[in-house]
């Protein structure tokens, strides 16, 4: 797996203050489980995303640890409360120096 890859965030661009918004975060990644074998019988080493974090104006609001049980191109849908206008930063960190960052703006009225 390369050092970084494409990611996508789906969330509302504007929201009422105090409302709950749904965020869908997806990253392009094979999530090689480390339980598969090549035709030659050699085990394919594990290569997965380990941690996903979401910060809202630099305050961590959500974090998840991934294990090989997460499917390829991990999608995670979670919620947060729209507190203030600002930026949400999403970060995926994985094996072999993998790191991907994505940002989304939200306007809270």
């Amino acid at each position: 797996m390369s050092k970084t890859s494409r990611t996508a965030i789906t969330m509302p661009a504007r929201a009422k203050k105090g409302s709950i918004i749904e965020i869908r975060a997806i990253a392009q990644h094979d999530m090689e489980s480390g339980f598969r074998y090549t035709e030659g019988g050699k085990i394919i080493p594990r290569d997965i995303i380990r941690v996903f974090t979401c910060t809202y104006n630099n305050v961590e609001v959500f974090k998840a640890d991934f294990y090989p049980g997460i499917g390829a191109n991990p999608l995670i849908i979670f919620t947060t409360i729209a507190t203030e206008t600002g930026t949400l930063e999403f970060k995926w960190v994985g094996d072999d120096g993998y790191e991907a960052v994505n940002q989304a703006r939200i306007t809270v009225s």
């Binding site: 035709e39 959500f62 998840a64 997460i70 499917g71 979670f78 507190t83």
Partner: protein, 158 residues
């Protein structure tokens, strides 16, 4: 020939068929086949540290019949007001039939608003999947879902 007699015979055969299906059903029921596996048990112990787990409040949704175990939509929700004094701290998902039972761990805060997480997981076998939630007061709650997997994940050769 008496027509009522043939009907009776047919009905009797039908009922016999139903009965045998029922017996077969209980024989293959996931409840009897999958007791909580040791590995999953130790994974759960590692999470709770031996604390008792109460049943309820946690709802886990996975399709009851899965064609391909490589990508299964899993939804977990915990019944909680998610206020400063009463919220879900951590949600763990454990699949007892997977080579590594842990699937994911999600850390929530009162700012999450709700305790609903959706993701896509791999399932190696027909099995029971557990979700364990830890509240901010330290108590543990659990829920589970059963599923039948036709094509297993992690067995294919590249």
């Amino acid at each position: 020939m008496n027509p009522s007699k043939t009907i009776n015979r047919r009905q009797w055969l039908k009922s016999l068929q139903k009965l045998s299906l029922l017996a077969l059903g209980t024989w293959f029921s996931p409840m009897t086949v999958f007791a909580k596996k040791e590995e999953a048990d130790s994974a759960i112990k590692a999470i709770t540290g031996g604390a008792s787990i109460k049943t309820g409040r946690v709802t886990l949704v996975i399709p009851p019949l899965v064609e391909n175990g490589n990508l299964v939509v899993l939804k977990v929700s915990v019944d909680s007001p998610m206020t400063e004094n009463n919220y879900v701290k951590v949600i763990h998902v454990i699949a007892e039939g997977n080579p590594l039972p842990n699937i994911f761990t999600a850390y929530l805060t009162p700012r999450s608003g709700t305790a609903n997480i959706t993701t896509r997981v791999r399932l190696a076998d027909s099995q029971r999947v557990w979700a364990i939630a830890q509240m901010n007061d330290g108590s543990f709650w659990q829920g589970y879902a059963e599923t039948l997997v036709t094509l297993s994940a992690c067995t294919e050769v590249v």
